[in-house]
């Protein structure tokens, strides 16, 4: 009985710790490098369709803080980016990649980034 209890406690602890680790991640875990190029692609396609003049995206990760990007991406408020149609075509995986790029290069991140 005692042995069973110990095993049960250990399994419970292991489950709790695994769950905590999964949720306590430092921001989104998409492919930020891929996200950067997917994001650029959106604007290239958008400029080709004539909706925007420049292929250079108007928003850069360094334009907002990590908290602000979290709010925008988790609530899917993409209006500020423009090119609505192109954003609608993106898969959830693509959006996660872009989110990772923006979050990890936000103005208050260790490596803020600007789009060229």
């Amino acid at each position: 009985m005692f042995k069973k209890s110990i095993i049960a406690i250990m399994v419970f602890m292991f489950t709790i710790v695994s769950f905590s680790m999964a949720f306590a991640s430092d921001g989104p875990d998409g492919n930020k490098r891929k996200g950067k190029y997917t994001y650029r692609k959106v604007y290239k396609a958008c400029a080709a369709s004539g909706e925007v003049k420049s292929t250079t995206p108007k928003m850069s990760p360094a334009d907002k803080t990590m908290k602000q990007w979290k709010d925008i991406f988790e609530n899917r408020k993409f209006d500020e980016f423009g090119c609505k149609g192109n954003w609608a075509e993106l898969s959830d995986k693509d959006i996660l990649d872009i989110y990772s790029y923006f979050y990890h290069h936000a103005s208050d991140s260790p490596t803020p980034a600007k789009c060229q």
């Binding site: 492919n31 490098r33 891929k34 950067k36 190029y37 692609k41 208050d108 060229q116």
Partner: protein, 571 residues
């Protein structure tokens, strides 16, 4: 009306005059008549002369100052032209996988470029051409009161501005594109991405790699003479950000108007940096640590191959109109002193950096606090800052050289240490009164050895990672080979930057009374010369007042004398 006019002519006083002039020539000339004639001639001449002087001094009249005429001539037909189209060069038409490959392609035609460049300060970061002399230079013992030291190129954070690939410093290949490419593409990042995508085995990224290759191929052909953006990437952002270091160089000069800089203004002369900073064998003319930009002031008339680095090169040493009093100032006052009334006129510039306050945390984490102008006033990794805009320069005698206190010089911590300060005084024929930005701050010094210290900032053992200043100093000083006692404190320091860009239009140049005034003269601290208006000499004042009183007394007694003797009246 005619009658009235006739009456006018017959008025007694005019009648006398007319009668006088209508006298026939054969009438014998009395002494009084002769005197009257002389006085009339003198009065008329003086009247016309004064008129001429007034119009000659007016800036509105058509005559152009010699300095402007010469400068216009010097920059006539300045358009660059080229005999090469880089899109047609075979060596550039391939898929590059690293920056070094690009350099190899450049050197396949420009065979001597790297050899030349390796000898320049932009590559060695040492002021002396002799590589064993490491006294002055970012890669040597030189320090400043910003990020303090380059730690012999061991601080990789600084190497972002070195003209090599991948922060390899002098051990790497020259990155020609840093100065000669106008595409704006971040080649280092692009190559890093290609490498990462190639290694991650994700088939989805193959298209991305192709896209990046295409971008590189296109960008690589955008070869140019260095643009303001190329130079500005490091020189506008020196010290760790826009406008941190120089007060007269920041990103506002990328596309300035002529109100900010008459030479660089896109609505003015639209000069690029290389218009004045001329180049020989990749050596770019400009001030280097202790060395002045040029040894002597020469106009292009004297020597048309002289570097076009000073105002005098184009504007001559008598730049104002011939009879202008301002030309008498040019052997004492630099052009910049009057023509750059303020610096940091668009973007703010940093004026104070206190390292003693670095290292504070909020909730156990480093933080940034922003202040006026949206600029940081506190950063845990760097300390406290103060920013200013429209700053009035401080003025010193300068012959173009600067004296530097290096990490190997003994200091007096009881005094404010001048890390960099202009050299010159009134007796030096090359010295002029020159405007400066004085950046003040506090930085670490060795309490036992009495020397300024060179903490390592970036990297695993750098202060920005460990927040352990003592360890950062120990590691940093080791890179320079300068012993550290293990005890440090902070000392107040100054660093002087000559102000020479942001030349305002002539109508915004300083008025005489900004300097020639008793209270709050801009040149209040300039010694070695007598400045009318600013200075007071009892002897000269007494002589002046005696002259005024003497003149008044003369007029008064002359009048009285004439009144009592009824001089001038006929019996």
């Amino acid at each position: 009306m005619m009658k009235k006019g006739g009456d006018f002519l017959t008025r007694p006083f005019l009648k006398i005059g007319l009668e006088t002039f209508e006298k026939p020539m054969e009438t014998p000339m009395t002494p009084r008549y002769f005197l009257k004639c002389c006085l009339t001639v003198i009065a008329v001449t003086a009247f016309f002369c004064s008129f001429q002087a007034v119009f000659a001094a007016s800036p509105e009249n058509g005559e152009e100052a010699l300095g402007r005429k010469l400068a216009k001539q010097a920059v006539k037909g300045s358009k660059r032209w080229s005999t090469i189209d880089h899109t047609k060069v075979e060596a550039l038409n391939k898929d590059f996988t690293s920056g070094e490959e690009i350099t190899k392609a450049c050197l396949s035609c420009h065979s001597e470029a790297a050899t030349q460049f390796h000898k320049t300060i932009h590559w060695t970061w040492l002021a002396s051409g002799d590589k064993s002399d490491i006294r002055y230079g970012k890669a040597g013992y030189s320090v400043n009161n910003f990020c303090i030291s380059g730690n012999a190129m061991e601080d990789k954070g600084c190497l972002k501005c070195h003209v090599s690939w991948n922060k390899k410093g002098v051990k790497g290949e020259v990155n020609c594109l840093k100065c000669h490419n106008s595409s704006g593409l971040n080649f280092i990042e692009a190559f890093g991405d290609i490498k990462a995508f190639s290694e991650d085995g994700d088939p989805e990224t193959n298209d991305m790699v192709k896209d990046i290759q295409q971008e590189i191929k296109q960008a690589i052909t955008e070869v140019t003479f260095p643009t303001r953006k190329n130079c500005g990437e490091c020189h506008f952002k020196g010290g760790g950000g826009d406008g941190v270091k120089h007060g007269d160089l920041d990103t506002s000069l990328t596309k300035p108007n002529r109100m900010l800089d008459v030479h660089m203004g896109i609505d003015g002369k639209n000069f690029s940096c290389t218009r004045c900073h001329t180049t020989v064998d990749h050596h770019i003319a400009g001030r280097i640590y202790t060395n002045p930009a040029v040894e002597t002031r020469k106009s292009l008339i004297e020597d048309d191959l002289a570097p076009k680095i000073t105002c005098v090169s184009c504007h001559s040493s008598e730049p104002h109109k011939n009879d202008s009093k301002m030309n008498d100032h040019t052997d004492v006052v630099s052009c910049q002193a009057c023509h750059i009334p303020k610096f940091a006129r668009v973007n703010p510039t940093e004026m104070w950096w206190d390292w003693a306050k670095a290292g504070k945390m909020k909730d156990g984490k480093p933080y940034i606090e922003k202040g006026p102008f949206g600029k940081p006033v506190y950063k845990s990794i760097k300390g406290e800052f103060k920013w200013e805009k429209n700053v009035i320069p401080e003025y010193f005698w300068s012959n173009g050289s600067q004296t530097s206190t290096t990490a190997d010089d003994i200091i007096d911590p009881a005094q404010i240490v001048k890390v960099s300060h202009p050299v010159g005084d009134k007796t030096d024929p090359e010295a002029r009164i020159f405007p400066f930005k004085i950046h003040r701050g506090k930085q670490p010094y060795d309490k036992i050895h009495k020397k300024l210290l060179a903490p390592m900032l970036s990297g695993k053992r750098g202060f920005w990672t460990t927040f352990d200043m003592n360890d950062a100093i120990e590691y940093g000083n080791k890179t320079l080979g300068i012993p550290y006692s293990g005890e440090f404190d902070y000392v107040e320091t100054t660093y002087a930057f000559p102000i020479t860009h942001m030349v305002a239009p002539k109508e915004n140049a300083l008025n005489c009374t900004e300097c020639h005034i008793r209270e709050n003269s801009r040149l209040a601290n300039i010694t070695g010369l007598y400045m009318p208006g600013r200075d007071k000499s009892n002897l000269i004042d007494i002589l002046g007042w005696l002259s005024v009183l003497g003149a008044l007394a003369g007029v008064f007694f002359h009048g009285i004398g004439r009144f009592f003797t009824r001089n001038g009246k006929e019996n």
